[in-house]
Symmetry: C2
Subunit: 191 residues, 2 copies
């Protein structure tokens, strides 16, 4: 293992540990010291990567934004609107399934709500929302189309992290979110 | 005016003023002193009604919970599932339109997210969600039906407070939310 991959590995482990502690205690009640203790490193080692807990929380949420951008880019290579919608919906539901812990936190923890709100309302998040709407509803969608897309995708994200479904296994929740999304967006049932 | 209605009036004005200041500065940055100054009363007069800013923020959000409960109670008097769904959807959209300022705050202000999350995850909020689901999807809904209702209603609430539609006038937004909701829930178009 090179020094660079070791560093990547530590940073990744740090973010995984932070998310675990955030989900157990909430963002506000988790300290850098707790993260260091859980990782078995010194607080100085955590400081090497992140100066504040907010930076850690933002880094925990950031890959979601990046993945959404990649999904939208991927949709641009599809030739029909239907295929583009399918691509975004499928990628979105997969992303939600991988991020159930983070989404659950967003639904229940004010500290994580603060971070996610800031991330998605920053220029990059706003740009992302605009591009996603353009792929799903066209460049100049009517209000009805824009609201439909907004309702379905924010609704799926909220349902994916809702405490009501926390006990549902991944495969069942994935299938249901996808089926509900397809039906609400007027896409044909999958074989 | 009796002493009792004068007190009701002051409390109402206090909550209206608090919501206005919250929406301008965020909950965190609004002080009891600022609310007193804006109302033209002493801080002691504010203390007479509320001991903390959190109590004020909860009182700002509380009528929404009460109105939702009344909408769900109203739906129980309707004889068909379709009429019940129509009643809840219509009441929900009307509530959203009256609470655009509050919903906008929920979408952007961590302080208000904290209050609303606490309100809706308290036993009374959880009970409300359970009863709402029972009216809309039956007493023992399948996962598909439960998720559909969850997606449509949380999605409509999120869209109602989204910055994208802040410039849309009330009448247009109301009509669009209602039409999108009816279509997504499989209800026939209104005349």
């Amino acid at each position: 293992m090179t020094a660079s991959t070791a560093a990547t590995d530590t940073r990744t482990r740090l973010l995984d540990t932070a998310l675990k502690l955030f989900s157990e205690h909430g963002v506000e009640a988790t300290s850098l010291q707790m993260i260091a203790d859980e990782l078995g490193v010194t607080k100085a080692a955590v400081y090497y990567y992140f100066k504040t807990k907010d930076e850690i929380a933002e880094a925990v949420a950031a890959p979601t934004l990046l993945e959404l951008e990649q999904i939208i880019e991927g949709a641009r290579t599809k030739r029909t609107r239907g295929a583009q919608i399918d691509h975004v919906l499928h990628g979105f539901v997969e992303l939600i399934m991988r991020q159930r812990l983070l989404l659950g936190l967003y639904n229940s923890d004010p500290g994580m709500q603060r971070v996610v709100t800031r991330t998605f309302q920053a220029p990059r998040g706003e740009d992302l929302r605009t591009r996603m709407r353009a792929v799903l509803a066209g460049d100049n969608p009517g209000l009805d189309e824009a609201i439909t897309v907004h309702v379905v995708f924010t609704g799926i994200a909220m349902a994916g992290g809702a405490p009501e479904y926390a006990g549902v296994d991944d495969e069942t929740l994935r299938r249901n979110l996808l089926e509900v999304g397809r039906r609400l967006l007027g896409r044909p049932k999958r074989r």
